[in-house]
Amino acid sequence: MWAYEKKLQYPVKIKNPNPALAKMIISQYGGPDGELGASLRYLSQRFSMPYPELKAILTDIGTEELAHLEMIGAIVYQLTKNLSPEEIQKNGFADYFVDHTTGVYPTSASGSPFNAASIAVKGDPITDLHEDLAAEQKARTTYDNILRFCDDPDVRDPIKFLREREIVHYQRFGEGLRLCTDKLDSKNFYAFNPSFDKK
C-alpha cells in the first residue's frame, strides 16, 4: 500500500529551458540505471527476501526511488517548457518531440524505451544484494556523467542531491549484505539459498 504526498522530496525550480539537457537527464527516468528501474528492482526483490531488515530496506529504498522518479520527471518537464519549434530543432530535441511532444516518457538518453532487461530479480539474497550495490553505483556514475554536461545551478542542485542518495543507499545495502551473510553458514555462504532451500 502506498500514500501520495503532494510535494517533491527535494525542490526543483528551473528558470531556463534546456531541451538538450532534458534528453540526457531523461535517462534517469526510464534508462538502464534510472529511478523507474531502481524502484521496480527493489520493490520486486522484496517478495523473495528472507530477512526482516532486508524486506524493510528494499521497501523503504524502493519507495524513495519513486520520489526520485518524480523529481526527474519534474526536471525534464521544466527543462522542456515554452519551447519554440526553432529551439526544438536547434537543440537536437526534434526526434524526441516527434514521438512524445513534451510528454515525459520512460526512455534512455540513447532512445531505447524502458526495458526490464536492465534490472534483475534473482531470488537469492546474496545475488540480489550485489545487483543492488552495483545498481546504486551505476546510477551514481550516470549522475556524475550528467553533471559533466550541466552548468545550470538550478539543475545541478537537485541532480547532486540525487547523486548523494545513491551513495547512502549503497551504504545501507552494504550493511544489508553483511546482515545476510551473518545469518548464513560462515564456512560456505553458498551452501544453500535461504530464499528457496529448506534448511
Binding site: 522530496q9 547512502v168 545501507r172
Partner: protein, 86 residues
C-alpha cells in the same frame, strides 16, 4: 522565493532527516537514541505540515477532508510558479 516555497523547503528539510534516520534504523533497529531523534523530527514535521496545510491546502488526499478543490488545485509538485503559484 515565495513564502509557500520557503515552507515547503522547511518541510523537505525535516522530512529528509526522517527518511534518512528511517533507512538507518532498518539496519540498526535497536538504536534507541536515533529512534528518539526520529520521533522529534516527526513531531516537527507534523507541526510544519499542519501550518502549511492551513495556509496552502492539503498535502495528502487523506487530509483534504472537505477541501476537495484544495487537493486538486495547482500547483502540483512539478509545476512552475507561472502555472499557478499561490
Amino acid at each position: 522565493m515565495t513564502d509557500r516555497e520557503m515552507m515547503l523547503r522547511q518541510i523537505a528539510t525535516v522530512d529528509f532527516a526522517i527518511v534518512e534516520l528511517n533507512l538507518y534504523l532498518d539496519t540498526h533497529p535497536s538504536d534507541q537514541e536515533v529512534n528518539s531523534k526520529l520521533n522529534d523530527y516527526k513531531k516537527q514535521s507534523e507541526e510544519l505540515r499542519n501550518r502549511y496545510q492551513e495556509m496552502y491546502g492539503p498535502l495528502t488526499s487523506e487530509t483534504a477532508e472537505d477541501n476537495r478543490w484544495g487537493w486538486i488545485a495547482d500547483p502540483w509538485p512539478w509545476n512552475l510558479p507561472e502555472e499557478g503559484e499561490n
